[in-house]
């Protein structure tokens, strides 16, 4: 088998799901005799070959099995049936900064992380300066990682993986976060890796990220490969599959935008910490929504409503503001409204923002935009689910025995 190749041969992976998770020995005894839990097949009979130098994207919705497939390829979990073979060193970037020890300095973490990824100490020493320079943290390399910002941690995590000299690079979509300039740098580095003949597997539920990098994409649905071919076609199929799941009433109406238009929403943008416009955010980072409102006639101050829904159409949050209370006076013209969120309370997933403009009573609709914005939030740490559950963990005193 050629270096850089991946052979996935009839791979299935089963997870056993219990009604109540068995986490302790006590559960094991208590749950004895009850139904044995149900089997969930995260992957069913997946067969695909990746040739050296290919860049392949795995796309699919949450729960389609794409991340399980990546973890099987990485060798983190084993297939229940079937066989997986890879040739060459695998570099995995499933989570930036996974395994960083917060109390250790950046320097110590580079060596530790490199060793975990299978690199020899001498090799790491050789590349150390390059890694630090790429991550742009020369000034902080001897400070403990717990003092780093999330951006710095991610940059260092990416830099280590990027300079591993892997033959196969496994990427979770996480890498697409961070400020615009660093994202470009990451993509440049990944392209460089690709041009050097490296194999890339990228997992994403964001078709755009796959299109930027891959010429081949594999579409997964409920653990099965439903399409394997050009990225363009895979993306089209993926999007039409997503569209099929939109509320039928809305689809019949065919409307994404409506209203009487005396006042309109001219623009809507999301802005990150650094002030640049983006559609990808890290859970917990500062986040701002900017809406351009245009009033054509002399109207009393309108009311702006927003609704946030997840991919399944579940309402996550709703918010409304009377622009009069913000100091809008009667009259026409264009104004910008800004909504600042100091810590984004979302955890993981794709979100759809609906914006509406009504009169102050909320009864007369001037303008409504469904899907005014679609953005993605990545977990910065251990968060799962839709909402970021902010809080402080603490370790309580532990009993000791001799």
């Amino acid at each position: 088998m050629e270096t850089g190749a991946i052979r996935v041969d009839g791979v299935s992976r089963r997870f056993r799901v219990h009604a109540r998770e068995i986490r302790t020995l006590k559960d094991l005894f208590v749950e004895r005799g009850r139904p044995q839990g149900t089997d969930v097949w995260a992957l069913r009979d997946v067969t695909l070959d990746v040739e050296p130098g290919e860049a392949v994207g795995f796309i699919g919705r949450n729960g389609s099995g794409k991340t399980t497939l990546l973890r099987v390829v990485a060798g983190i979990i084993k297939p229940t049936t079937g066989r997986i073979r890879t040739a060459g060193r695998i570099g995995s970037l499933l989570e930036l900064g996974a395994g960083f020890h917060p109390d250790f300095t950046g320097r110590e973490n580079v060596f530790l992380n490199g060793a975990i990824q299978g690199l020899r100490r001498a090799d790491i020493r050789e590349r150390f300066d390059e890694i630090v320079a790429f991550a742009e943290i020369e000034h902080a390399i001897d400070r403990p990682v717990r003092t780093y910002s999330s951006g710095m941690t991610m940059r260092l995590g990416f830099a280590i993986a990027a300079f591993l000299d892997a033959d196969i690079l496994l990427l979770d979509e996480v890498f697409a976060v961070g400020d615009e300039a660093f994202q470009r740098k990451c993509f440049a580095r990944i392209h460089q890796f690709k041009d050097g003949g490296g194999t890339i597997v990228l997992v994403s539920h964001d078709a755009a990220a796959v299109q930027r990098l891959c010429n081949r994409a594999v579409l997964l649905d409920r653990g099965r490969v439903t399409f394997d071919g050009s990225t363009r076609e895979a993306t089209a199929r993926y999007q039409s599959a997503l569209a099929d799941e939109v509320d039928p009433a809305e689809r019949e109406a065919g409307l994404r935008e409506w209203g009487s238009r005396e006042a309109t929403i001219e623009s809507a943008t999301l802005v990150g910490e650094e002030g640049a416009e983006r559609l990808q955010f890290l859970s917990g980072e500062p986040f701002a929504l900017e809406v351009g409102v245009h009033v054509r006639d002399a109207l009393p101050p309108p009311r702006l409503q927003l609704e946030l829904r997840d991919d399944d159409g579940v309402l996550v949050a709703g918010e409304a503001v009377s622009l009069g209370e913000l100091g809008w006076s009667v009259g026409n013209g264009a104004r910008r409204v800004r909504f600042d969120v100091p810590e984004l309370p979302l955890a993981d997933g794709r979100f759809h923002l609906r914006l509406g403009l009504t009169d102050d009573t909320g009864e007369h609709l001037y303008h409504q935009l469904d899907d005014a914005l679609v953005f993605v939030v990545y977990p910065g740490g251990e968060q799962r689910g839709v909402v970021r559950f902010a809080g402080d963990w603490a370790l309580e005193a532990k009993e000791t025995t001799p």
Partner: protein, 269 residues
């Protein structure tokens, strides 16, 4: 042989093992004034406390020797090693969950590196006791060096049981709490503070003595170590054979439990 390859990975991935070892050693004492010196001081301080309580304050005459303090010191290193290694490594796989879920590497290295850090303390304590015994017990001169192979066998027992416990704890979170509750009675059921022969009640309850000696797998190695360090005689054949067999069985058991749960660990931590 899968069992062999589980331990052979320590050598195959020795650079990673060394990194984890350094991390565990330093993380333990990070931020303390004395830093690394603690890994040497901690076992000595612990021995000092046992010595103070059981030898000076609470005078025990059961050994019939004036050197009870040395008797105690000869049994303690093995216990302290076992207890600290078990407690330290039981939660280790969970503590490294973010690594285990995201990167492929030989996961058994995580608990084994904790054992290695505690092995350092064991070696320091044993070395200290060997010196004392050379000074105080002239007849031990010929036998103290036997404590090295015996200590190595004991380290295998600890490594195997620890690997099994850490794997189980990754799947069932109450294992470490059960362990914490077990360690104190276990300490008293192991002849550290007393000698099996000198226990007054032993003659009336031979079954109890059998359990203390042969069911508790810590007793034979402790007795063997004390024979060579304190009494200056060759260890009893039965204890030596038991210790050697226990070392192999423990390693095999650790490898078996780990390989049975390895895949589930990556899913469930």
């Amino acid at each position: 042989m899968r069992a062999v390859s589980i331990y052979a990975d320590v050598f195959r991935h020795r650079e990673l093992f060394a990194s984890l070892f350094r991390r565990d050693l330093r993380a333990k004492y990070r931020g303390s004034v004395l830093g690394l010196a603690w890994s040497l001081l901690h076992p000595l301080v612990l021995m000092g406390v046992y010595l103070l309580v059981f030898s000076l304050l609470w005078r025990v005459a059961s050994v019939g020797s004036s050197d009870y303090w040395l008797f105690l010191l000869c049994g303690l290193p093995a216990w302290v090693f076992f207890a600290t290694a078990m407690q330290g490594s039981a939660p280790s796989l969970l503590e490294n969950a973010n690594l285990i879920r995201k990167v492929r590497f030989p996961r058994q290295l995580v608990p084994l590196s904790v054992v290695a850090t505690n092995l350092v303390g064991f070696a320091v304590m044993l070395g200290f006791v060997v010196l004392l015994s050379l000074v105080r017990i002239p007849e031990a001169r010929d036998t103290v060096l036997l404590s090295i192979p015996l200590g190595a066998l004991f380290a295998c027992i600890v490594a195997g049981t620890t690997l099994a416990t850490a794997s189980l704890n990754a799947l069932y979170r109450d294992v470490e709490h059960i362990l914490a509750a077990l360690l104190l009675p276990w300490f008293f059921l192991t002849p550290i503070l007393y000698s099996l022969e000198d226990l007054p009640g032993v003659d009336d309850y031979p079954a109890a003595e059998f359990v203390l000696h042969w069911v508790n797998f810590l007793t034979p190695p402790v007795e063997a170590l004390r024979a060579v360090l304190f009494e200056g005689v060759a260890p009893a054949t039965a204890d030596t054979v038991y210790t050697a067999v226990a070392a192999v069985v423990a390693l095999a058991l650790g490898a078996f439990v780990f390989s049975r749960s390895d895949d589930r660990i990556a899913v469930e931590v």
